[in-house]
């Protein structure tokens, strides 16, 4: 077995999987792979339609709609990660999932932290009229 061959195929190592790997070399047939992508596409379309429906319907309690949209968006991102990027929770995927978890932690700190801090600053700010009076 040449070095080239050994480094080329992941199947004979069988330890890790890279993000985006197709698993055809792990014995799944091409048809099964295509079906996986089609299933992912169908789920993503369904969630997209649900999101667009949620803003136009009156069936959902108004103030709850943004939360519904967040939930649908997170679900659709999960679908994309699993079916298109092939990030799964299998044992060969630990590194990828841990990197993803760290990314999610940082993203949520940045987004929720900014919104939280800025909302408080906004709340505690002296109103513009008062500020002008103080400067006189």
């Amino acid at each position: 077995m040449s070095t080239e061959r050994r480094f080329d195929a992941g199947s004979d190592v069988g330890q890790d999987s890279a993000p985006g790997d197709d698993s055809t070399d792990e014995g799944r047939s091409l048809g099964a792979e295509v079906r996986g992508y089609i299933l992912g596409l169908a789920l993503a379309i369904a969630l997209t339609i649900a999101s667009f429906w949620a803003v136009q319907t009156h069936l959902i309690y108004g103030p709850g709609i943004p939360m519904a949209l967040v939930v649908l968006a997170v679900a659709q991102m999960g679908i994309h990660l699993v079916f298109f990027l092939h990030i799964t929770t299998g044992p060969d995927n630990t590194n990828n999932v841990l990197a993803l978890a760290f990314g999610v932690l940082i993203v949520s700190l940045v987004v929720f932290g900014s919104v939280w801090v800025m909302a408080h600053l906004n709340h505690n700010m002296v109103p513009m009229g008062e500020l002008l009076k103080m400067q006189r």
């Binding site: 080239e4 050994r6 480094f7 080329d8 195929a9 992941g10 190592v13 330890q15 890790d16 999987s17 890279a18 993000p19 985006g20 790997d21 197709d22 055809t24 070399d25 091409l30 792979e33 295509v34 992508y37 992912g40 596409l41 993503a44 379309i45 997209t48 999101s51 667009f52 949620a54 803003v55 108004g62 709609i65 943004p66 949209l69 967040v70 649908l72 968006a73 659709q76 991102m77 994309h80 990660l81 298109f84 990027l85 590194n95 990828n96 990197a99 993803l100 760290f102 990314g103 940082i106 993203v107 940045v110 987004v111 932290g113 900014s114 919104v115 800025m118």
Partner: protein, 213 residues
């Protein structure tokens, strides 16, 4: 002392002993390439999260100008979403075609991916053009500055992705399914799918939330 002696004298010939950590030796190059690019993509997502945070903070600061509700056309957003989702799917088909070493299907799938991506981009540019024409350009208010920065940054990523996609088509054609070209294509497909994930956040949290608040 004894441990060192034991581990070095395991009996295996030196060239067969794993040089990396763990039982399997160093990871194959495909894993290293994919993992490294995955780390890059996550850092890109973190950059986008800062733009999302800026938009969330500034979204209500319209400075007397038009608000999200008056500006956004959901039909256009739905079309853009459809284009990008379909192009993500055909990019997946392209990676299956590469796995099957089928040049014709690889090129067809990549062409479809690129056309759908270009369709998305033209819809977005038309939307931007319309906004600027209605005096709702990036300099109008803090809300619009944040909006153009966030959505424009995603658009720039798509533009870069289209250039990369054209390069991949040419390289497959000129060099065949060589290993290093396939690694590049693995990175490209990850990049393209990640752009679709960021668009999911944009259409949900910017366009859809914008029309109900």
């Amino acid at each position: 002392m004894t441990e060192v002696a034991l581990s070095s004298g395991a009996g295996a010939p030196a060239h067969a002993a794993p040089t990396g950590h763990g039982a399997g030796g160093p990871a194959p190059k495909r894993i290293v390439v994919g993992y490294g690019f995955w780390i890059f993509l996550l850092s890109d997502v973190i950059m986008f999260s800062a733009l999302f945070a800026a938009y969330a903070v500034l979204a209500s600061n319209t400075a007397g100008g038009p608000s999200a509700r008056q500006l956004f056309d959901l039909r256009n957003t739905a079309l853009e979403t459809g284009c990008l989702l379909a192009s993500s799917f055909s990019c997946g088909m392209a990676s299956l075609a590469v796995g099957q070493r089928s040049m014709r299907w690889t090129q067809i799938a990549l062409l479809v991916t690129g056309l759908l991506g270009a369709g998305f981009l033209s819809l977005e540019l038309r939307e931007f053009e319309g906004l600027v024409a209605r005096d709702a350009g990036p300099s109008r208010s803090a809300f619009l500055s944040a909006f153009f920065t966030l959505v424009g940054c995603h658009g720039l990523h798509v533009t870069a992705g289209l250039l990369w996609l054209g390069t991949m088509m040419a390289q497959f054609l000129a060099k065949g399914f060589r290993q290093d070209i396939r690694f590049r294509f693995l990175c490209f497909s990850l990049f393209w799918h990640a752009l679709d994930i960021i668009w999911v956040a944009i259409f949900s949290l910017v366009y859809l939330v914008g029309t109900i608040l």
